[in-house]
């Protein structure tokens, strides 16, 4: 797979990937500013990879003036080359030849669609290689898989795979779903039309680049200007005779409309909405992607993963400690319900009851702290306990009693001075009070 990576250098919205659909249908945006394009099947339309890269950079200019890009076999290598050897095109199947002369710092950018989970191990790796006297990327290529695995485990394997083009990252076709909407906010309000047009220009450029990528035509342009004083809004609508993609025409019409306005009340922010219609010649597309809600949430979660933010569904786990009784999964959660096991043999019936079955029905707070938070004796003294007896007692492993694990707990409900209803427990070993949740 040949991958083109564009580094846009400033944080962008994920919809910016739509503008690159003119190069290939397989485009993916990675937070904050990387665009990955699979050009293996489309580069010959542009007359080779060099021209394809040139075209992509032309599109990228609408988003960032000094965008750079590179082409390699895999997304990680393409990203690294885009940063350290802009405009480089690595030879097919021998992308490591393009690594010649790169320093070890380049390893930090060897990420592709999935960023490094943490920055620290990679920094540690780089400093370790320096102590070995390896200062270039070619030196690292000589290490065997086993030696990296022995020292750094899975992380070392991942590094080796990415260096040797073994880390398979698939760029799936982009399904556009964001509305064609632009927004801008001025720190200093503007009352001059030429200045305002100047500020609207980049937003319009981006919207029309996306329109071109989506292969659609603009029917109507709506500009909503919010004034600085009072809640006054000025709404401008521009609708040419027929749907078109002619940006200059829209700009001329907009400028004429703006110049007829009296802008005594200066403009603080603007919203631009482009209403699009399909191409005049409707072509039946049998390979049109079917978009359902399942796909949409899968995509949402994969976007979140790329920006290193965890997202998923809560799944109940079999544990009687509250903080271990659930976790976040990205697949459909399986229901966990404790059932009694009933064994039948001929006419005989045996019920094996499940321990702690009632726990799931016991009163639990809506918000739980990630770690129990110890309360000082002063704070604990101010709490008003709702009952003198604990509402529940949770224990485990009586044969290894230790205070660190907090394994002997008596839970109470308590009211604070501010009227907050809290879930607290007393550790039975050192009788320290901990806050564990809020009935919020």
């Amino acid at each position: 797979m040949r991958t083109l990576c564009i580094n846009l250098k400033t944080p962008q919205e994920s919809s910016s990937a739509e503008a690159f659909l003119i190069i290939s249908p397989r485009v993916q945006f990675r937070f904050p500013h990387f665009i990955f394009i699979d050009i293996s099947s489309t580069s010959h339309f542009f007359g080779g990879e060099a021209r394809c890269l040139k075209k992509a950079l032309e599109v990228a200019e609408t988003f960032c003036a000094d965008a750079c890009g590179a082409i390699a076999d895999t997304p990680p290598a393409a990203q690294m080359l885009a940063r350290w050897k802009p405009l480089c095109i690595a030879p097919p199947d021998k992308e490591h030849e393009a690594f010649h002369g790169l320093g070890l710092d380049a390893l930090k950018d060897l990420e592709g669609l999935q960023p490094w989970p943490q920055k620290r191990p990679i920094e540690h790796m780089i400093s370790f290689f320096h102590t070995l006297g390896v200062h270039g990327l070619e030196g690292v290529l000589n290490f065997r898989l086993n030696s990296l695995r022995e020292r750094w485990g899975d992380f070392g394997v991942l590094l080796w795979n990415r260096l040797h083009s073994q880390d398979l990252q698939v760029i799936s076709p982009l399904v556009p779903r964001d509305p064609l909407v632009g927004y801008g906010y001025f720190d200093d309000p503007i009352a001059a039309v030429p200045l305002l047009m100047n500020h609207l220009q980049p937003t319009l450029n981006i919207l029309f680049a996306r329109l071109l990528g989506l292969a659609r035509y603009a029917q109507k342009l709506e500009v909503l200007l919010h004034c600085e004083y009072s809640d006054k809004q000025i709404s401008l609508q521009i609708e040419p005779v027929s749907p078109t993609r002619d940006q200059i025409l829209f700009q001329d019409l907009l400028e004429k409309k703006l110049s007829s306005l009296v802008l005594e009340n200066p403009i603080r922010e603007f919203e631009v909405t482009l209403f699009d219609v399909p191409e005049k010649v409707q072509q039946l597309d049998f390979f049109e992607p079917r978009d359902n809600s399942t796909d949409r949430w899968r995509r949402l979660i994969s976007f979140a993963k790329q920006s290193q933010c965890e997202m998923g569904f809560l799944q109940m786990e079999a544990s009687h400690f509250p903080e271990h009784s659930f976790r976040l999964v990205t697949d459909w959660p399986e229901d966990f319900k404790a059932h009694d096991l009933i064994e039948r043999q001929d006419d005989a019936l045996q019920v094996k009851s499940v321990y702690a079955k009632g726990l799931s029905a016991s009163p639990r707070p809506s918000l739980l702290l990630e770690k129990p938070q110890p309360l000082s004796s002063f704070e604990a003294g101010k709490l008003r306990f709702v009952s003198s007896l604990p509402s529940e007692r949770i224990e485990s492993s009586w044969w290894k009693i230790s205070a660190q694990d907090l394994k002997n707990r008596d839970y109470y409900f308590a009211l604070s001075q501010q009227g907050q209803l809290l879930w607290v427990f007393k550790d039975r070993i050192n009788s320290q009070v901990y806050l564990h949740g809020y009935f919020d």
Partner: protein, 218 residues
């Protein structure tokens, strides 16, 4: 003159009072609140703010809204702050965990704004809850979110753990949870501030307490 003015209005089709439709809302199932508000619940396609120190009942109100949303087999999303949503509580309230997307606490403020935009524009969710330790979103960011919510018809509910004095007009509904009562600080087309005895809502929220007490005795 006055006659002329009246003839001007003669052909305007006025809507009779019983044909008036309130704007769309999601019911909270707390009767006093639903009857008071214009939307018969929290506004759909708009921003709401529930504020109060943790342990005063803001999250419970959100859970009650989600209960109604799940009853219609629709989706909801939640963004954690330093505390996490506890699934045992949700399961006790009959929530479907498969229809509730939970996001872990974002590391940066910018990221939270980005996630909110992504969640809203995916138009998968009826209601999105966002728990915040401190309210840090700027006005222009809120304006953008408000616009997106209107386009995608999503009810975005912020739950702020540190109540603010300033009543931001960008929120259509602001509710403050206090020790003994809750105050509706802002609600469109309704006289505010409006107080509701908290004990009543609290009694509803904490019905499980009574059961637990009974269990302990028996």
């Amino acid at each position: 003159m006055s006659k002329n003015a009246l003839t001007q209005f003669a052909d305007i089709p006025f809507v009779s009072a019983e044909n008036l439709q309130p704007p769309a809302g999601l019911p909270t199932n707390v009767d006093t609140l639903d009857q008071f508000l214009l939307w018969k619940g929290i506004p759909q396609g708009d921003l709401s703010l529930l504020q109060g120190t943790p342990g005063t009942g803001a999250t419970s109100l959100w859970v009650r809204i989600v209960e109604q949303v799940h009853a219609q087999n629709k989706w909801a999303a939640w963004i954690n702050a330093d505390t996490q949503l506890f699934p045992t509580y949700l399961a006790n309230h009959g929530l479907n965990l498969k229809k509730l997307l939970v996001v872990k606490e974002p590391k940066e403020h910018e990221q939270l704004f980005w996630i909110l935009q992504e969640l809203i524009t995916s138009s998968l969710f009826e209601v999105i809850g966002c728990n915040l330790k401190e309210f840090f979103l700027k006005n222009h960011q809120l304006q953008k979110l408000k616009r997106l919510c209107r386009v995608h018809k999503v009810a975005l509910v912020f739950i702020n753990q540190k109540p603010q004095r300033f009543i931001n007009p960008l929120f259509s509904l602001i509710v403050l949870f206090q020790r003994d009562f809750i105050t509706i600080q802002r609600a469109l087309h309704r006289p505010t501030p409006f107080n509701i005895a908290g004990s009543m809502i609290h009694a509803n929220f904490m019905h499980q307490f009574k059961n637990a007490a009974r269990k302990l005795l028996s």
